[in-house]
Each structure stands twice: as C-alpha cells, then as structure tokens.
C-alpha cells in the first residue's frame, strides 16, 4: 500500500482535515489505489521534456499601480462567522 495509515494521517494534518482512525483506515486503501494507478506515468519517457504549467499562450498582463479597490470592509466582513470592530475573530493563536 503506497499510502499507509500513518502517511494518510500526516497528509490529513498538512491539509488540516480531521480524520479519526476509522476514516484513516478507509481512506488509506482508497488513496493507495489512486496513487498506484497514477504511477503508470513512470513508464513514460520524459527525459528532456520541460514541465508544462500553463497552456494559454499569452504574456502575463500587468496592471497599473493605481488604487482601484479596497475600502469595502463591509463586503469583506459580510460573510464572516465572527467579527468585532472590523476585525475577523478566531480562537487565540499561540506563537
């Protein structure tokens, strides 16, 4: 199994998705099967092939340095689960 339970636990931590043992047990073989399947790419000869990140054949367009946005705290906060005095509020972060 390419992704054992511990690997899945680690990845779930990185992705910040809580998973109990039962879920890890179910997830591990499913993910392993997918990973094993995508490993078929190993058989493709990609020596001297450049990775392709973008298909769109245009130059990156840049914007002028002008203030065209912001000043909309009401919109920014409109869907906030918790906010106070213009701030988003979350459980205390420990540094």
């Amino acid at each position: 199994m390419s992704m054992d339970k511990e690997t899945v636990r680690k990845v779930a931590g990185l992705a910040r998705i809580q998973m109990d043992d039962a879920e890890l047990e179910t997830m591990a073989p499913q993910l392993s099967k997918i990973i094993d399947w995508i490993e078929q790419l190993a058989e493709v000869d990609t020596d001297n092939v450049e990775p392709l990140a973008n298909v769109v054949n245009i130059n990156l367009a840049l914007r002028e340095d002008k203030i065209t946005d912001g000043d909309c705290a009401d919109k920014v906060l409109a869907n906030a689960p918790e906010d106070v005095q213009g701030f988003f509020v979350v459980s205390k972060v420990v540094e």
């Binding site: 499913q30 993910l31 493709v44 392709l52 367009a61 459980s91």
Partner: protein
C-alpha cells in the same frame, strides 16, 4: 404556453422581438417548468423572484429598443459562479449560506446582455465528479431514464445545468469544464455543451477547482444556442491573468453547414479496449456523416492519450488542494469551533468537505509534498506537455478531431461509487483536450439500445471554436436528434 419551454434561444429571441410573448411570460413558463422538474433536484437555489424581476426589466428594455443580445432568455447558472447577493455554494456544505458581494465576470456579461437567472444549478461539490452524485445538496437526477426506469446520473460536474436544460426548464445554462464537466453531462443528457479554449472566458468569480484547467462554457439544446450564449460570455477580462486578449469571433455565423474540404482527424488511441459497441458504432456513424458532408477523414495518432487521466488526476488535485485551502472557517462559510485554532481548521474542513473532495485534497497534498513533488507533479506536467504536443502535431494534419464524448451512456445512481477510478474513467475522452486547453463540444448524436442519449465530441485548435461550431453544426444536422427525455414526454402527455 408550455411550448415556450421547448423553443430554441434563437427562436425565443425572435418571438420576444415580434412580441409573440413577453420576457415575463417566458420566465414564468420556465419557472413553472422548474417547479415541475423539482424531482430532478437540479438546483441548489431557485431564484424565481429574480427571474421575474429581470424579465420585467427585459420587457422594458425591449420596449425601449435597448434589448441586449440575450434579452429575456432564462438560464440556469452553475452554482460555481459567484452571483452578487445570491447564495453560491459550489454544492459544498463549507460554503452553505455564503452570499458573494460580487458578480462573476461571465454571469455579469450574460446579465449585461439581458439574460434572466432561474437559479443556481447543482454540481458535484467543487466541480469534482462525473455523476453529480457528490453534492452536499443531494444527487441530481437525469431526466432520461433507461428501460428499467432506474434513476440515472446526469453526468458531472455540471449535472444540474445539463439536467435542467434537457428537462426543458431552462433554455441554456452556464457550466465549467475542468476535465469534461460540460461535455460529459451534455452527452449524458442529450444536449449540446461547449468548452471553449482555455483563456476564452474569464475565470474571475468562478470558484476554482483546478486553475490551469477550469474553463467556463455553455450547455444548451443546439449548437446555435450554445454559440449565442458563448458569444455573450466570452472575452478578455483584465481581472483574470490567464484570460486572452483575443477578439471573440461570431460563433453562430460559423455554423454554415459547409465543411467541404475540411480534414477531420480520427485519433486511433481513442479506440479503447472494452469500449462498448454502441459507442464504436456511433463514432463510425459520425465518420460517415462527416464524409457525407464532403470533409476528409484523416487517421491521426495521439500517442500519449492513455496517460491523460493519470496526468489529470495529479495536476487537478494538486491545484485543488491549494485552491481549497481558503475554506478555513475564518472569513466566510462554515466554522466548527475547536479547542484551538488548528482544531477549528481541522473540524471545519472535516465537516465542510465531502468524501470525494477530501480524497482529492489528500491526493493533491500528497503529490505536492516533500519528496514526491518531482515524481508526481513535475512528472505529470512533463506528460502534460507530451499530450499537448500530440495535439499540436495532429493539427498539422487536420482541422478538427472527432471522438466519442464519453465511454458510456448515463449510468445508474450508485454505480461506479465503490471505485473512484472507475468514476474517473468517464472523462477518458474529454480530459486530453482539457490538459491541452483546447476547445471541445459534445453534440447529441443518437440513442443507445436502452434509449439513452450518446454524444460525439469535436475538438479544435486553440482559439478555433469556429471550426468546432462548424463541424458540430454538421453533426447536429445529420444526427437530427429530436428525442425527448421521459420526464418531458410524460409532462407533455
């Protein structure tokens, strides 16, 4: 006036212009049809009040001779497009109740031309799926039924859009296509779907799944209707850095029926082991139609086709794992409190995302993680280049490609659920063009033995949607697909 819901967009525009009916009447007919199609569960949010208000405004504009190109046309909007003041969920619990304070560029373009919104169509959660069975708000049901009468999937991820257009409850719909999410449900629901070239329609305000692949497009009941919708949606948007500064051609004008002298490529690698006979036969029929129309058939090769799905299932989850990191319970959407911040994140995301989304986030996180990045992600990007180059070479020999859209007709809800890979195989014919950013269209071309629709796919060169529409128009004419889904026949009876 139930026949209002059976009109084409082109026909409805004429009817509105000659005052045969009003936009409000047209909207009401569709609102009634939506109501009647409730059992399809095609919408996450219905917006009849908005539709009627927009329709009334449309009538006013038309009276003032200020009507836009789509004025009064009732559409369904895939619930992946952010709509100002209207809940937008991506069919996810994590965005339940989220009300965008902005309008996506594509929907803004449609509304600028006078389109009317019937509601927000359901989809696979965050557009991840091929059956619309991965929605927090429940499965969408295909208006078509097989002989055994079992409920079928409409395809996905734009399943709500496809189902509602097929059910004659919306004249057209927006969709997004990342690996086949417009073309495959169009094929399953017996309608036409177009995914334009990557960069043709703005992604601004469209909830991201896999940014290098996502492309908005259209679903409607004819190539001409698709052309009209796409015409209004497309165009350069300075807010999307991947949106191209290209003139939008007159897509409808390209549908001339004349493909004499065109070279249409048949990729031999799409003739896959275990492909059902009926798909093979339909494809052969398509070849005959093309020949009949005076075009030449060219055998071409896309040697890396076989690796497209695996490539896609690395790249798309990788991008998704990052794109979906913003759903963290801090600024909008679901929050599940925890003993500390980290627990809040983990509980929120565990409760907010469905299984398929979790699987893809996990795969994506894994393939990007230290030690695996080169072996999976970079490898996939290299194969993506090979796939893209296959198409470039093919288009030296031909003007467009003809393939089946999907390897099967719509399947029963519950089928393919046990095995994610089996579900992924639904996109085997659509994914390669997505990886290369090419325009593609699915045209309903016939019924299988079970009476279910099957589509043929046309793939074009980058920015050459015109040829895609041209060839698609010929297939449409030859196929003369007039069959109706059972739910529509039942209602008419």
């Amino acid at each position: 006036m139930s026949d209002l819901t059976h009109m084409s967009i082109a026909g409805a525009l004429k009817g509105l212009e000659s005052k045969d009916f009003t936009a409000v009447e047209l909207a009401q007919a569709h609102i009634d049809a939506v109501e009647a199609a409730k059992d399809l569960n095609a919408f996450v949010t219905e917006t009849p009040e908005i539709a009627l208000k927009q329709a009334a405004e449309s009538d006013k504009r038309r009276a003032d001779s200020k009507a836009g190109a789509l004025d009064g046309i009732p559409l369904a909007i895939k619930d992946l497009f952010c709509t100002e003041g209207v809940q937008t969920t991506a069919s996810s619990h994590i965005l339940e109740g989220f009300v965008p304070q902005y309008e996506s560029t594509v929907t803004a373009n449609l509304f600028r031309e006078g389109a009317v919104m019937l509601g927000k169509a359901s989809l696979d959660e965050f557009a991840m799926g091929s059956g619309n069975t991965h929605s927090y708000f429940g499965n969408v049901i295909n208006p078509w039924k097989g002989e055994d009468g079992k409920p079928l999937v409409p395809g996905g991820s734009s399943g709500g859009s496809a189902a509602i257009v097929a059910a004659r409850a919306a004249m057209g719909a927006t969709g997004t296509d990342t690996g086949g999410s417009i073309r495959q449900p169009a094929s399953f629901c017996g309608i036409t779907g177009v995914k334009p070239t990557y960069g043709r329609c703005s992604r601004w305000g469209v909830i991201a799944f896999a940014s290098s692949l996502d492309q908005p497009g259209v679903l409607a009941r004819s190539t001409e209707d698709c052309a009209l919708l796409l015409q209004s949606m497309a165009g350069h948007d300075p807010k999307d850095s991947t949106s191209a500064q290209k003139d939008v051609p007159d897509f409808a004008a390209a549908i001339t029926g004349d493909i004499k002298g065109f070279k249409i490529g048949i990729p031999k690698e799409y003739r896959m082991d275990g492909m059902p006979d009926e798909i093979e036969k339909l494809w052969q029929q398509g070849v005959e139609w093309i020949k009949d129309a005076g075009a030449d058939i060219v055998d071409i090769s896309l040697p890396h086709t076989k690796y497209a799905l695996a490539t896609y299932y690395i790249i798309a989850p990788a991008e998704a794992s990052s794109n979906l990191a913003r759903y963290d319970g801090v600024r909008y959407g679901l929050r599940e409190e925890g003993e500390d911040l980290r627990a809040m994140y983990e509980k929120t995301r565990a409760a907010g995302f469905g299984d398929e989304v979790k699987r893809r986030i996990m795969i994506g996180t894994y393939v990007l993680s230290a030690g695996y990045y080169d072996a999976y992600y970079i490898k996939a990007q290299k194969v993506r280049r090979l796939i893209s180059e296959d198409f470039t070479k093919a288009f030296e020999q031909c003007d467009a490609l003809l393939t089946p859209t999907a390897p099967s007709a719509a399947f029963a809800i519950g089928e393919n659920e046990d095995d994610p890979i089996k579900m992924y195989l639904n996109d085997v014919f659509t994914v390669p063009a997505s990886l290369a950013g090419l325009p593609g269209m699915s045209v309903p071309a016939g019924l299988n033995a079970d009476g279910l629709p099957l589509g043929l796919q046309v793939i074009g060169r980058p920015w050459d949607e015109e040829t895609v529409f041209k060839v698609g128009g010929v297939l449409e004419e030859k196929a003369a697909f007039t069959a109706l889904p059972q739910s529509v026949i039942r209602k008419a009876a």
